[in-house]
């Protein structure tokens, strides 16, 4: 008998999770929504610059097809094409929906939505709400989900951390195991389907542009339970961030979209190297290209500002009033954290780890992982961005992915049969409680925060802009050493109530396991494509490497096994990527 009121568990309340929740709620599902931070504080609030949709409101002849072409080309032909095309076709409707929800998008004098330019395109395609677009979009979806919460259809579990999936004897996902971040109670939850929307993995790189909650711990736990992880080696390094002690704060691409120029002094004069090297796209070349250019200017040509790893991002030629309306949010960040006024002095920036193109493998249609009953959407999955994501394409992929995952999970749930025995739930709870007990009993000498620092340093040094096989081999050896040392750590704080050191230490293990997927994926891929650049293999190699990396965890060996899958290139034949 079909299940008339299916129950979904959604893990993650960023844009992707909220979009899934909203679309599933509309189809009659009951939803339990889990998030480590209150939903409204999810990392999506950080998104600054905007969201892409080929609305063609600037008389430029833009179209979803051109958006699709830019996205595939920008991703160096590694993305499966049909789903990307669907996303680009859906994007204008997504903007309309957000507009109806009350997102205060910037407007033209005629009262229409305003659009700005972003990297990797020649069109004005990016809708924006000042320079805090992600915040405004997240709030809009949060408000709509709150409506369903008010009607009793959605129940939130905020300050709960997903630990693992509950899989039955046939490997079907029947629910999740989670921990209350206050009482530290471990509990299992049964459901007809589960959607994972846990976002990015920045913490694996120590410092990044991401929020603290972006640990990738959930994705890693699932990978260790048998979910395939795809294209892990593709890590986006954003060209312009403010170096910081705790975080590398992004200076959005919108700064360049609104006319910002990147330069360093050379022979006593400003040298606009991006404009010189890439006359067609100028400062708006895609991120991987801009990042490598800055790297070259600083490390090969020795032209970093005052010998430091930094270049100028200059807005001072733009009228202050215009800057305030369009970029106020990010100027405020620079002022508050650096103390200078970017309307008057050029900002000092440097590349920073920003985004993972890789993530949980999902199929080409339904956002379904290889584990039946388990779906994924948002930054935690791999579908939309190939080898390099274009700016302002993530927000749209999160909302689009959620809009697919929600309804397909409901459909799956309606057709699914009830979970059989309670045993898998008991077993999973026991397994997680044992992990907790071991950690509480740990008396070794290793300090988890020190291990984390070394992890971050290793990953940033060897798994970001430039990849060299010998270094990657050494990096993986280091990761194995860190995993070994993890087993000898001592948890000093044994408090059994809202214990942050405990939570962090648990996540750290998963970060280390996922780091190996990134590192070994990069080691294996002997070519350069998008964000993955190996000087020893400087060209894209379609004959051998136009394929998706799939990592699956081998429990006996305690490491990833890599295999490959063809990319669906049925719509656009690959062509050389030159800007």
């Amino acid at each position: 008998m079909p299940n008339s009121s299916p129950h979904l568990l959604i893990v993650g309340g960023g844009l992707a999770g909220l979009s899934a929740a909203l679309h599933a709620a509309e189809r009659g599902a009951r939803i339990s929504l889990f998030s480590v931070v209150p939903v409204k504080r999810s990392h999506s609030v950080c998104a600054q610059g905007g969201i892409n949709a080929a609305k063609n409101l600037k008389g430029e002849g833009d179209s979803p097809w051109i958006h699709f072409d830019d996205t595939i080309f920008g991703g160096d032909f590694l993305a499966n094409q049909p789903l990307v095309k669907r996303m680009c076709e859906a994007a204008p409707g997504i903007i309309d929906l957000l507009d109806r929800m009350g997102v205060p998008f910037n407007r033209t004098p005629e009262g229409l939505l305003d659009f700005r330019r972003f990297g990797g395109t020649l069109h004005h395609r990016t809708a924006f709400a000042g320079a805090t677009t992600g915040q405004q979009l997240l709030y809009a979806l949060d408000e709509q989900v709150r409506r369903h919460e008010a009607s009793g259809q959605v129940e939130k579990f905020e300050h709960w951390e997903f630990l693992s999936a509950v899989l039955d004897d046939n490997g079907v996902c029947r629910g999740i195991c989670a921990m209350d971040l206050r009482s530290m109670e471990v509990r299992t939850f049964a459901a007809d389907a589960v959607i994972i929307a846990t976002g990015g993995i920045g913490a694996i790189f120590g410092k990044s542009t991401n929020s603290i909650a972006c640990t990738g711990s959930a994705q890693s736990a699932l990978y260790q339970q048998g979910a395939d992880y795809a294209n892990g080696e593709f890590i986006q390094v954003h060209p312009t961030a403010i170096p910081g002690e705790d975080k590398l704060r992004l200076m959005s691409e919108s700064a360049r979209g609104e006319g910002g120029r990147v330069w360093v002094p050379k022979d006593g004069k400003p040298w606009y190297f991006l404009e010189e090297w890439y006359p067609k796209y100028g400062n708006l070349v895609p991120r991987d290209v801009a990042t490598r250019a800055i790297h070259k200017v600083v490390y090969e040509l020795g032209l970093g500002l005052d010998g430091q790893p930094a270049v100028y991002l200059d807005l001072t030629h733009i009228p202050a009033h215009e800057l305030d309306i369009k970029l106020g949010g990010i100027l405020e960040i620079y002022e508050k954290f650096v103390g200078d006024d970017p309307r008057k002095v050029p900002m000092k920036v440097f590349p920073a780890m920003h985004y993972t193109m890789g993530g949980l493998w999902v199929d080409n249609e339904h956002q379904a992982t290889n584990i039946p009953g388990l779906f994924a959407c948002g930054e935690c999955e791999y579908q939309y961005h190939g080898a390099n994501r274009l700016g302002a394409n993530s927000l749209v992929s999160c909302i689009f992915g959620g809009a697919i995952a929600g309804p397909t999970a409901v459909e799956y749930a309606r057709a699914s049969t009830a979970a059989g025995s309670p045993r898998p739930f008991e077993q999973e709870k026991l397994r997680q409680e044992e992990i907790n007990a071991r950690l509480f009993a740990s008396e070794g000498s290793e300090n988890p925060f020190v291990i984390w620092k070394e992890l971050g340093r290793t990953m940033t040094e060897h798994c970001t802009v430039i990849r060299v096989n010998d270094n990657l081999r050494r990096a993986d050896a280091k990761l194995q050493e860190l995993l070994e040392r993890y087993r000898k750590l001592g948890l000093r704080d044994k408090t059994r109530w809202a214990n942050p050191a405990f939570f962090f230490t648990r996540q750290l293990y998963n970060m280390l396991q996922l780091a190996r997927v990134i590192c070994l994926g990069a080691l294996a891929r002997d070519e350069s494509r998008g964000a993955h650049y190996k000087p020893a293999f400087a060209e894209r190699d379609d004959a051998n490497w136009l394929k998706t990396t799939l990592a699956s965890f081998a429990p006996d060996a305690d490491e990833p096994r890599l295999r490959y899958q063809p990319v669906d290139i049925s719509l656009l034949p690959p062509r050389p990527r030159k800007y």
Partner: protein, 249 residues
């Protein structure tokens, strides 16, 4: 005190029932430190100034760029975000306390769920019919956008509630942040259609009449939201609304 260290006094509380205690820490100074960096340094090696090992300090934080609202606490007597509290600009010892007007969880971590529940109470959303394709939203002038956007930047940090003499668990007052959201949604061309329901939600216990015009809120807001204007605007709407109801309109 050597200039190359940072001193902090932190009010600790092991749990909701536990008695508060103050602990002092002294950690190496680094340029461009903020309070979050200091708390992280302490987490790496939680030892007090007099050499006593202690537990890790619990606090909330996420984005570290003052847009998620998580890391609000009372720093040198002032409610603010820890990420934008730069050590160079703070007098030492830097004192850290939890927000006082919310239920205690642990140390600097409190339970601000009332804020989110109150957003539900006042129906802080635009009532759309559904996510299916219904064309674009209503046209709006850039001037309207420039009025709405600043109101929409509230990060639910709770600083405005912390400094409000009327905000306490007794009266159930919703506070400035939530009233500001009512103003925001009552401005929106579609949101307006729920105007009466929102105003109704602001009458009765905990409603807008609890405001005592202390005007502390507007000074505490990290996002410069014109909170007193918002309260005044909603009050004006309320007068019309209540007259309308009284006259049976």
């Amino acid at each position: 005190m050597p200039a190359n260290t940072v001193r902090l006094r932190i009010k600790r509380q092991a749990g909701p029932q536990a008695p508060p205690v103050w602990e002092e820490f002294e950690i190496p100074y680094r340029p461009h430190m903020n309070v979050i960096v200091a708390l992280r340094d302490i987490a790496e090696n939680p030892v007090t100034r007099d050499g006593r090992p202690t537990s890790t300090i619990a606090y909330e934080a996420n984005c570290l760029e003052e847009v998620c609202g998580a890391c609000a606490m009372v720093i040198n007597g002032r409610a603010r975000q820890a990420c934008t509290a730069l050590v160079d600009r703070l007098e030492q010892p830097i004192s850290l306390e939890p927000l006082h007007r919310f239920p205690m969880i642990r140390d600097l971590q409190v339970d601000r769920s009332k804020l989110f529940n109150d957003l539900r109470r006042v129906k802080a959303w635009v009532p759309i019919d559904g996510t299916y394709a219904l064309g674009s939203g209503p046209r709006q002038s850039p001037q309207d956008q420039e009025q709405a956007y600043p109101l929409s930047r509230c990060i639910s940090c709770g600083n405005c509630l912390e400094v409000c003499p009327q905000y306490n668990t007794r009266t159930d007052y919703v506070g400035a942040a939530v009233i500001n959201q009512v103003r925001l949604f009552n401005l929106h061309p579609t949101g307006k259609m729920h105007r009466a329901a929102r105003l109704d939600a602001l009458t009765g216990p905990g409603g807008i009449q609890e405001c005592g015009y202390a005007e502390n809120c507007v000074k505490a807001c990290p996002k410069d939201i014109p909170l007193t204007d918002s309260i005044a605007a909603v009050n004006r709407q309320m007068v019309g609304h209540l007259w309308g109801k009284a006259l049976g309109r």
